[in-house]
């Protein structure tokens, strides 16, 4: 393996650009060079203009048609026309003077840049900027005219809420940053930009709150991000897979969210958000086990209700993990553990079923997983068909035909419903595999196997880390106030401190005092 790794490492990446090269003074040479570099792309727009008044002067504007905003281009050109009206200034103007004239007129409030490096020029051109340079002068300047069509901010598709903000991140990273900036209007919110992907040059932004986030965590994340060397990044999951602490672990170590409110809340707790251009999923780290069983809605409901919902979620987590395995173990190894009446009815249903309980469970689980996968990939129009096939044909008919017993249909249904109660889809997917492993263990060893599997699972979870923070943190390495936001959600006014392992800030985030005094409450009508 290692030998192969070295073989590949020695190869240079195709995208590596040759050493820095300066612009030439000759405008035609420069234009030719750009054309060559871009392979004479059809969407490259090059407008070479001779000055009407001073024939020695000549400027060129270059942009790529498909990634610029037409309106900005139009306003730019009308501004240029205004500039060129100043006849007296132009009469005996040097190319440098001409350049400065343009620069001063166009820079305005715009995001602009000037330079001499040819490579910077190319990368500016590719990120949607309009380039200007003058014949006889070896400098260029660029103005940001970037614009692409994107989705509007809409409701989340995978993290639905009933109460709370319904905004959702979009694919455009600038919009995403603005969504977060809009929620945290504070000077200490840091936004750092880097570009990754040797070919794709994907823009990545890390956001954190300077005084709250732990410096060590931010530095470590920055280091890991900088070490990424890959041709392209199309989703934040690439980042996760490349830089997570234990890359062989099945468990997600970064929390992906498409909801700006939960990411903003995470930033306020001292976590670091990683935004990737082109995806609506934002990563936050460190992400601990309990975070995957929380929903942003937990904080928008009364704390008693939210706590009850969380308990249900934890129960669902364990149900989806162990119900099929437990059934297999009880039905094939430990019949004495089933209450007699229940055993009788299970026995009655198993009567005449040709398969052992494990095969039966595997069959139904497999069917369910296929149904689920098909349901996700299928065109929306034929969506209802699958529920008919799934519910009627596979459920009822298979039981009636005596291929499987009715109990297993119930078992698989409980498992399936429970798995949907896990708020994070990545976690829910990983539980699917865990469940299968436990089923196999239980078919071979019975309950002994199930518990061995669970022990291994818990050991693994305790060993895991997310950016150096223990994965089971508030539970396995118990912190003083950590339990206040785990299985139960304590009232907001009681949950005073930020999570200890994650945040650097020891000051309380909320004042506990109740504005309604006891004396007030005792008055018959108070306000």
């Amino acid at each position: 393996m290692k030998a192969f790794g070295n073989l590949f490492k020695k190869k240079t990446h195709i995208s590596n650009i040759s050493e820095s090269e300066n612009l030439s003074r000759n405008i035609n040479k420069n234009i030719e060079k750009i054309k060559n570099e871009l392979g004479n792309s059809s969407d490259l727009s090059i407008n070479l203009c001779k000055d009407n008044i001073n024939e020695n002067l000549c400027y060129v504007s270059i942009y790529i048609e498909n990634i610029v905003d037409k309106d900005t281009i139009n306003s730019l050109s009308s501004e240029i026309t205004n500039v060129l009206k100043a006849k007296d200034k132009l009469k005996d103007c040097t190319p440098e003077g001409y350049f400065n004239l343009f620069k001063n007129a166009l820079f305005g409030f715009r995001k602009s840049e000037e330079g001499t490096d040819f490579n910077v020029l190319i990368s500016n051109l590719l990120s949607g900027k309009t380039l200007f340079f003058i014949d006889g002068y070896n400098k260029f300047f660029s103005i940001d005219t970037f614009s692409v069509e994107g989705r509007a901010v809409s409701e989340p598709t995978s993290q639905n809420v009933i109460r709370g903000p319904k905004e959702c991140f979009v694919e455009n990273i600038n919009v995403n940053v603005s969504l977060l900036r809009n929620r945290i209007k504070n000077k200490s919110l840091r936004v750092e930009e880097l570009s990754k992907g040797n070919i794709t040059k994907t823009k990545i932004v890390i956001m954190y709150f300077d005084k709250i986030a732990k410096k060590a965590i931010v530095d470590e994340l920055r280091r890991r991000l900088n070490s990424i060397n890959i041709d392209g990044i199309f989703d934040s999951s690439y980042i996760e897979e490349l830089i997570k602490d234990d890359r062989y672990s099945i468990f997600p170590q970064f929390l992906s969210s498409e909801k700006p409110d939960s990411v903003a809340a995470a930033i306020l707790e001292g976590r670091v958000a990683i935004l990737v251009n082109g995806t609506a999923y934002v990563l936050t780290a460190p992400a601990l086990f309990t975070d995957f069983l929380q929903s942003s809605e937990d904080y928008y409901y009364p704390y008693l209700v939210a706590s009850a919902i969380r308990i249900i979620r934890y129960i669902a987590f364990f149900l989806t993990l162990i119900v099929p395995a437990g059934y297999i173990a009880l039905a094939t190894f430990h019949q004495e553990m089933i209450p007699t009446q229940l055993l009788i009815s299970i026995a009655a249903q198993r009567e005449g079923v040709p398969f052992p309980a494990f095969v039966e469970a595997l069959f139904m689980e497999g069917t369910f997983e296929i149904l689920r996968e098909a349901g996700v990939r299928m065109p929306k129009v034929i969506g209802p068909a699958i529920s008919i096939v799934g519910a009627l044909v596979l459920g009822q008919a298979a039981v009636d035909a005596g291929i499987i017993s009715a109990v297993i249909v119930i078992i698989v249904s409980i498992t399936a419903i429970s798995s949907f109660a896990i708020p994070n889809y990545t976690m829910s997917n990983c539980i699917r595999l865990m469940r299968l492993a436990l089923m196999i263990l239980s078919a071979i060893f019975g309950l002994y196997g199930v518990f061995m599997g669970l022990i291994v699972l818990i050991l693994h979870l305790c060993k895991l880390k997310s950016v150096g923070v223990p994965y089971m943190a508030p539970i396995a390495t118990a912190t003083k106030n950590g339990f206040k936001d785990t299985i139960l959600r304590y009232p907001i006014w009681d949950n005073k401190y930020r999570p200890i392992g994650i945040s650097n800030d020891k000051s309380p985030r909320v004042e506990e005092n109740n504005p309604v005094t006891t004396e007030q409450k005792e008055e018959p009508e108070f306000r």
Partner: protein
């Protein structure tokens, strides 16, 4: 230090050998098991005749009323109990699974000869749980008891199991006896075991077909009080009142009902909702004596006639009458066991031994 590679190889080795060695040895599918609900043990010509009541799950749990019998009986004879039980596999298509055993019905004959040898088998075999009850078949064989088709609960074993529990809770004269209790009473010096007795009533039609359930009057199994043992040998039956007395003395009454006939017209029915008993041993004139204090809490359940219980005097009178009645039951019970049967089922011996170990 062993390096990681070695560790990994070792781990895979251990896991794979585990897979091979352990295998699926213990696994048994539910539909390859014959669930035994009760065992009946009779004595025929110096041999054990063991009747297994095997559940027919197909008939029990189906929504439509079944044409099949809810239980099947397998009977086999032999000198040794374990041998007989294993020999039943020659007539049963499935392996008999004993973990859900509910009842063991003993024939009177067997009980008279001693049950110690039987108990050892039930204690030793790993498949038996310890939560099944023992009863003695009164005036019939264990086989007959298991054969009978009972209403509501199709399986007579389940019927007895539920009925013995319900009767102990709501109507005192029975007692659930599990194997641990039975065995510990057998080995301890100062106490002798009791078992509930069961008999078949209203057996008009001797048919064991499920068709008799089409009638409203069918044969039923009735729990008729207790029977007393001396060590492991059966001695005789107690009447219902005597059994009640036994349960009062041993503090086993949870809830029961009784009535007082005050005079010709007036009758008061009361419900015992709480009964506690304390037994203490004394020495009176060098002879051991036992004092049993029973604490009762009663509800007036019904009243016939014009007896006004709201008057304090009357209530007190009632109290003393109830006391007298219960005392009578208890005394009858003690008299019967001490004088007629000559056994100590109350554990008085144990109480005296604890208070005066030297005796």
């Amino acid at each position: 230090m062993i390096n990681m590679k070695c560790k990994k190889i070792l781990l895979t080795f251990i896991i794979s050998t585990n897979l091979i060695l352990n295998g699926c040895l213990g696994s048994k599918e539910i539909n390859t098991l014959a669930l035994s609900i009760s065992i009946g043990i009779d004595k025929v010509d110096d041999e054990y005749s063991v009747t297994y009541q095997i559940l027919n799950p197909k008939a029990i749990a189906s929504k439509k009323s079944s044409i099949e019998s809810p239980v099947f009986l397998y009977t086999e004879r032999g000198k040794d109990l374990f041998e007989v039980i294993r020999r039943i596999t020659t007539i049963s298509p499935r392996k008999i699974y004993n973990s859900h055993l509910r009842m063991v019905v003993l024939n009177e004959e067997i009980a008279k000869e001693g049950i110690e040898g039987l108990l050892d088998f039930f204690l030793r075999d790993h498949e038996f749980r310890t939560d099944f009850y023992f009863v003695v078949a009164k005036g019939t064989t264990a086989n007959e008891v298991l054969k009978s088709i009972t209403p509501l609960e199709y399986v007579s074993g389940m019927e007895m199991y539920n009925s013995i529990k319900a009767a102990e809770k709501a109507w005192a004269p029975t007692k659930t006896v599990k194997i641990i209790e039975l065995a510990s009473k057998l080995v301890s010096e100062g106490v002798n075991p009791v078992l509930s007795a069961v008999e078949i009533v209203e057996q008009e039609d001797k048919s064991d077909s499920i068709d008799i359930l089409k009638r409203s009057v069918v044969s039923k199994l009735k729990l008729t009080g207790l029977c007393a043992f001396k060590k492991d040998k059966f001695l005789g039956y107690l009447t219902e009142d005597e059994s009640k007395g036994f349960n009062y003395i041993t503090g086993n009454v949870k809830n029961t009902v009784g009535y007082l006939q005050l005079d010709e017209k007036n009758r008061v029915t009361f419900e015992v909702i709480e009964a506690k008993s304390k037994t203490k041993a004394y020495m009176i004139n060098g002879k051991p004596a036992v004092n049993v204090v029973i604490d009762l809490t009663l509800n007036i359940a019904a009243e016939v006639g014009k007896y006004d219980v709201s008057i304090e005097k009357n209530a007190e009178k009632l109290n003393s009458l109830v006391e007298e009645k219960i005392k009578k039951h208890c005394e009858a019970s003690i008299k019967r066991t001490q004088e007629d049967l000559q056994t100590d089922i109350f554990g008085f011996g144990e109480v005296i031994h604890r208070a005066h170990p030297k005796l």
